[in-house]
């Protein structure tokens, strides 16, 4: 329960971040969604043993965090929270993939460890990219961007409704759950019997709420069609943003910059 409560608090915090007013925030959501998708695609299309070529991609989340004034520690914390799951699955790589790949003097590193590290870097990048998107854009504008990319209206509406009522229902569930906890000694009374009526009642109240919302919609002339006000257009800034980052990502993807750099430096000293 506490995890969902903190998750909801984080959700509100992300919305506050997204309400910021920087150049990045002001960009058209569609541009940000497109760039984020390309970013993720470039990162994960790297080979499973790729390490160094992934590193330049850190520029994107770092630059966004800096330019949009996002708190780096918060984003880092969110990414770390997600890591255990990745570790759980990734840890099998060193176990099953023991072909030596890299050699440092007498130390042999197997392909499994390399790909394990690669998985970790990938997840930091992809999760970071997603958080940067939400932290600079917000949920509703992201949905609108997806709508413009061709997502069916029924589904966009569903996302917006869901998001609106998460807060309301989570608070309600939190109260009911607390009420049960206060009157049950330890785990007694927390069994499936009380669960049944608690969740059942919550479900019926939710059902009733849906009916009232529908009434409220009808009262304001709803006839099955959702009209939304169109957001600002795709200007010069958006085009620069999209093309700039896309070019950079493709460049990062095709050239192993760290290797070139490293070769240059080690070559210099050798």
């Amino acid at each position: 329960m506490s995890t969902i409560t903190t998750a909801l608090l984080d959700l509100k915090y992300l919305e506050i971040l997204a309400a910021g007013d920087t150049t990045i925030h002001r960009l058209n959501p569609l541009a940000k969604v497109l760039v984020t998708l390309l970013f993720i695609l470039c990162v994960i299309s790297c080979n499973r043993y790729e390490l160094t070529a992934l590193l330049p991609f850190f520029l994107f989340p770092i630059a966004m965090i800096a330019r949009a004034n996002l708190p780096p520690l918060f984003i880092l914390k969110k990414i770390i929270l997600f890591l255990p799951f990745i570790l759980l699955v990734g840890i099998f790589n060193p176990v099953f993939d023991r072909i030596p790949l890299v050699q440092f003097g007498s130390l042999t590193v197997s392909g499994g460890w390399i790909s394990f590290l690669s998985i970790i870097i990938r997840s930091i990048l992809t999760v970071g990219g997603a958080f940067v998107l939400i932290g600079t854009t917000g949920f509703t504008p992201t949905c609108q961007a997806l709508r413009r990319m061709g997502m069916p209206q029924v589904f966009t509406t569903q996302l917006l409704f869901l998001y609106r009522y998460i807060f309301v229902l989570a608070e309600e569930a939190g109260r009911t759950s607390l009420a049960r906890e206060l009157r049950s000694c330890g785990t007694k009374g927390q069994g499936i019997e009380s669960y049944r009526s608690l969740i059942g009642a919550l479900l019926l109240r939710t059902w009733g709420r849906a009916e009232r919302i529908h009434d409220a919609m009808l009262a304001r002339g709803f006839n099955g069609e959702f009209h939304r006000v169109q957001s600002n257009g795709f200007g010069r800034m958006e085009i620069i943003y999209c093309f700039g980052w896309s070019a950079l990502f493709i460049f990062f993807r095709l050239t192993n910059i760290p290797l070139v750099l490293g070769n240059f430096i080690t070559g210099f000293f050798a």
């Binding site: 998985i119 229902l169 989570a170 939710t206 919302i213 070769n263 080690t266």
Partner: protein
């Protein structure tokens, strides 16, 4: 269990995205055409309800652990498959965006694993058959548990297939399956139990809620259409992706060769027969294992690698050293750019 971006390949991600997006489009059309306006807010708040319900748990007798509702099956029973699929997809989208549960690219996989199987396979083929037309409380309970278990087993199998097909994790198919299926059997029973008890409550309090959804349009005929569409989507995307992949394997291989200094190993993995051979090798992983074990001894490995490759050891060492130096440098530069941007942002 959620798939994560870091574990899937673009090809698998793209195929599953196409499949999920197609199903979303199809379900949206169905909901729009065949259902009352009333369903719009109902779907929305029920999605939020699933979130809220996951905050509340119950203790499982004699184990000391607790369980809660997953929601996919409950939604399908209440709303019918089309609307339920959309609600599940929306819940997963919010989770992917805000809680980084899964990630954006893996979203297609997650929607399919957790949304499609319960709504379009387990529900029509199992739940409806068992619950029948003149449903009773015991029948509903029985049907819920079996259906939840079946749905989750299929979902877990989906996770395994997608992971193995992506080939990012080295977990062999057989091991992964042995890990995943039993865990999800337990989760499925808990899920079924929770669903059954909530449905029983609703059945007593407001039976009309269940009767309206139970009599919604049968899905048997459209199921075939969805499966066909899914198949077509898979073939088309799979074709496009593999065409692109085969068009420029050189760029990929070139980088791999550069960093690892091992061309042959990767080359063997390339192409269809290579993948198949690899899969075969993994199924019978014991002989494979002993081969790798022999490989592991540093001394033999070097000579072994050396006979395999014309490259000298020194060269390889140099490559990894410069890789690390360059990597560190890149990170420092990226950090400095970020710092500079922030300072500039603060002054303007």
């Amino acid at each position: 269990m959620h798939m994560a971006d870091a574990l899937i390949s673009p090809a698998v991600g793209a195929v599953m995205w196409t499949a999920s997006a197609g199903t979303i489009a199809y379900c949206s059309k169905k909901v729009r055409e065949e259902m009352d306006d009333k369903i719009v807010p109902l779907m929305g708040v029920l999605g939020a309800f699933i979130f809220a319900a996951q905050m509340i748990s119950f203790t499982i007798p004699a184990t000391g652990s607790s369980g809660h509702l997953g929601g996919g099956l409950l939604l399908t029973i209440l709303l019918g498959p089309y609307a339920a699929f959309l609600v599940t997809a929306s819940v997963l989208t919010v989770q992917a965006l805000f809680f980084a549960d899964g990630g954006l690219l893996a979203l297609g996989c997650n929607i399919f694993n957790l949304g499609f199987f319960p709504a379009f396979i387990a529900y029509p083929l199992i739940y409806k058959k068992i619950a029948g037309a003149e449903y009773s409380q015991t029948r509903i309970a029985f049907a819920s548990i079996i259906t939840a278990v079946a749905g989750l087993q299929m979902g877990a199998f989906g996770v395994v297939l997608e992971t193995v097909a992506s080939d990012i994790s080295s977990l062999p198919f057989s091991t992964f399956i042995i890990l995943m299926q039993p865990i999800h059997l337990v989760i499925g029973i808990v899920e079924g139990l929770a669903t059954a008890s909530v449905i029983a409550f609703v059945y007593k309090a407001r039976p009309e809620i269940l009767s309206t959804s139970l009599h919604r349009i049968p899905v048997a005929c459209s199921l075939r259409r969805i499966m066909l569409a899914f198949l077509a989507a898979t073939i088309v995307t799979g074709g496009i992706v593999s065409w692109f992949a085969s068009e420029q394997p050189d760029g990929l291989e070139w980088t791999i060769e550069k960093i690892t200094g091992k061309k042959d190993l990767e080359a063997a993995k390339d192409g269809m027969h290579g993948t198949l051979a690899l899969l075969q090798g993994r199924f019978a992983f014991l002989p494979d294992y002993s081969f790798k074990k022999a490989d592991l001894k540093p001394a033999t490995s070097i000579t072994h690698a050396d006979t395999e490759k014309p490259k000298s050891e020194g060269n390889r060492l140099g490559t990894s050293a410069s890789g690390i130096t360059g990597g560190l440098l890149t990170l420092v530069i990226a950090g400095m750019i970020g710092f500079g941007l922030r300072k500039r942002g603060a002054t303007t």
